[in-house]
Symmetry: C2
Subunit: 429 residues, 2 copies
């Protein structure tokens, strides 16, 4: 049977899992690829670091070039993380005639167009299933299985750390800081979890999915993005009382004005599939014009789930499927900027609004008056008991625009009877 | 741009949907296939039947040969249904050098090996995404996305008609016959729904999935199969009282003795994703050693969801991905009989047992005595009030084998105090 020689850059969490699958399960990879995937070289930073996976002699190196310029390696998997050096590694691998597989969403979100152009120039391919939603094969599903459809909306829980923290806050009333500590203790959160909890990681993944689903070419920094790091457990409790669960969602919707993108904590109705996504799981809901609605759920990160996605890409690349997909889709090429970005202010939906108000007569009238001026109609109100002379006032609105909701909140914040910055979140389904 | 000429056999529910996607959305298919999918010919039985989709002049024919032997058609989609003639159409198309796409699970379940052998012989391919779970792309996910995994179990709601009927029985206490009538009225059930409700349709689909997931080569008729057509709404109510929902599941599990396959009404715990699958939806839960657990949900039938899957196959075939997959997987070839079938009697699990018993002292002791003789331990008992001198006695057991459960039920049925045939169903998760 023919061999395809594989090189890995990085033998950390994901790299070790990939090496393990390649070394221990050659039968599977051979059966699906029609050829042996042969682990030829693995580059790391520190040769002396203890590893939990044993490589055959001569495979490990601390010289990137031994992978990138290896004359017989045909596919390089970039599993080192980071952006600048990873970019260089991918560009040099492509230039050296290697196909590339990567799990690095930050790299793709920052340099997707440049890398894909380079791949096309050198007649090579880039595959990146593991970069979004870990073990959930959403990239292949969007770019291949749904090819007869126009996707009309895509909603995802794309960061397992945030979902774990939110689940903790819901089930046990744990405050945000403490839930984050637990996520770190259990190894779900990175040492520096800033990009997880501020929503940046979700925005990077959403930018990739929106490109596949809509041909949207958007810089992830431009996606309106709110994290969970400022979320008050009180709002979780109010939401629960009203039959909702708060999830950090990345949302892409096709509207008459273009694609509407956003990332933020969102109220979803209890009992639906999204609300039930538990712990560090990821999920994606896709609505598309032919198939209707599809829902995917699975592990969004972790060593073996992520390695499962990387090795599937290695197999597709070695077998020749990636070539077909990459060539026809022309990812991040000029041809593929197929849609406009819609104005985020025009995003339509219901809102959850919470104000801390003085416990004095006439407050509700003033606030609903301001909402009325912005043509925002109210679907329900929850006024809690006061303590310390102030009380939380929760208002659920009917559909309005993001622009009106934000302006109304500004006007309401300026009222004397309102004590702190209003809280506003989108409500879905 | 190059063209791939397509021929359809059948312009019924699915065929019309496929024609519509090909004719109205050439841009999508071209973008994903890298070439134009050109609808060249469509064969039907009756040229004069009114159609809800308009074809260009000269495309419709009532001569099968005009598709099968068309010199320029490269891919034939068999969308006529049935088994014998469909088999002939597929064999002749392959022999004439055409790749084949089909939505016909009955055909594959009956003649998969013969058809795939013929395709290999003629260096052609067969794609069949639409044959299982309609719009849910479970075939591609199993044969491509999960290629780095050993699947260890697969559980599916694979028949939308049954799921609709069961949902009705649960939510409204509708008796089986009436729920079936409503499914027919709404167009979910076939005119002759026998194969849906007796579980045969689910068994056929399970045989296909088990082949992809485990390399199991099993005749669907050999899969132990119970339908929903004998289900008593009383059991639905008892299950609900104990926190369960009854679903018709197809299950394939890897055990130390081989693959264990079964189809039958099964109690699943309320609150889990499977229990929440509503109306005519399908769902598949996969457990695999690298990725862990994945859950897919979507429309299991219907014109456009099914057409979405057929057209994805047409695109994959025209673009060249199907060739890679079909060649490497060697479906239903001799090489692929990779596992033994486990003895169904050895299937392990908890059981729901219901007996109609005399309302006399000592009955519970007698029945639990028999269970004890079969080493079956009890997890809970629900004894209902008697009417007419008899009462339902519901017993949930801890893990036992199918063989012991069946034997115990036989012994219990022979007791004087037991009035009618005992009811037994598996319990999962
Ligand atoms: N972890 C997950 O669950 C997960 C999920 C989805 C995607 N990803 C993505 O997968 C990628 C890898 O993540 P990870 O968690 O596996 O990271 P990690 O555990 O930190 O491993 C990084 C690896 O890269 C090597 N490396 C770093 N800089 C290097 C350099 N200059 N030269 C050679 N080797 C270098 C390290 O070498 P040493 O071992 O010698 O330090 C280490 O083996 C990232 O892009 C991440 O976003 C991760
Ligand atoms: N319907 C679904 O939701 C669904 C979902 C998944 C899979 N499937 C599968 O898809 C296949 C088609 O189902 P369907 O619901 O579309 O069936 P259908 O509505 O009954 O359509 C069958 C078509 O085949 C044509 N046909 C039948 N016998 C023929 C013959 N001898 N020569 C030429 N044409 C012939 C019929 O022609 P006339 O129009 O002239 O009668 C009709 O156009 C079946 O295998 C089914 O199991 C269906």
């Amino acid at each position: 049977m023919d061999k395809t020689k594989i090189g890995l850059i990085g033998l950390g969490t994901v790299g070790s899992g990939v090496a393990q699958l390649l070394l221990d399960h050659g039968d599977r990879t051979a059966r699906h690829a029609g050829r042996v995937l042969w682990l030829e070289k693995v580059a790391v930073r520190d040769l002396n670091r203890p590893r939990d996976c044993e490589l055959p002699a001569g495979v490990l190196t601390d010289q990137l070039d031994e992978v990138i310029n290896h004359p017989e390696i045909e596919v390089v998997a970039e599993l080192m993380g980071g952006v600048d050096l990873a970019r260089e590694v991918v560009l040099r691998s492509l230039a050296a005639g290697k196909d590339v597989v990567t799990a690095n969403k930050a790299l793709l979100a920052a340099h997707g167009p440049e890398l894909c152009d380079a791949a096309r120039k050198h007649c090579r391919t880039i595959a990146f299933e593991a970069s979004v939603a870990g073990g959930v094969p959403i990239i292949t599903n969007l770019s291949q299985c749904l090819s007869a459809n126009q996707v009309t909306s895509l909603t995802g829980i794309l960061n397992g750390t945030c979902n774990f923290i939110l689940a903790k806050m819901h089930s046990e009333g744990t405050p945000y800081g403490q839930a984050l500590e637990e996520a770190q203790r259990l190894g779900y959160a990175e040492a520096d979890p800033a990009l997880d909890v501020n929503g940046a990681d979700t925005a990077q993944k959403l930018a990739i999915l929106a490109h596949l689903a809509f041909g949207a070419r958007v810089a992830w920094e431009e996606i309106p993005c709110v994290g969970i790091d400022t979320l008050d457990v009180a709002d979780i409790q109010h939401a629960q009382q009203m039959g909702y669960v708060i999830k950090l969602l990345g949302v892409a919707e096709l509207t008459p004005d273009g694609v509407q993108l956003s990332v933020g904590p969102t109220l979803v109705r209890r009992g639906g599939a999204m609300a039930d996504v538990s712990g560090p799981m990821n999920a994606v809901h896709v609505r598309a014009d032919a198939v209707g609605e599809l829902f995917y759920q699975g592990p969004g990160a972790g060593q073996m789930p992520t390695a499962s996605a990387v090795v599937a890409d290695l197999i597709d690349t070695a077998a020749g499927r990636t070539r077909v997909t990459f060539q026809t889709l022309e990812l991040w090429s000029d041809r593929s900027s197929r849609v406009e970005m819609a104005d985020p202010k025009m995003a339509v939906g219901g809102y959850y609004l919470r104000f801390m108000v003085d416990d004095t007569p006439g407050v509700l009238a003033k606030i609903t008056g301001v909402l009325g001026e912005h043509a925002i109609s109210i679907s329900s109100v929850l006024q809690h008991e006061a303590s310390d002379g102030s009380a939380p006032l929760v208002i659920m609105t009917h559909d309005t625009t993001e622009g009106e909701a934000v302006e109304a909140c500004c006007d309401i914040a300026a009222l004397d009877c309102v004590r702190s910055t209003p809280v506003g979140m989108r409500v879905r389904g």
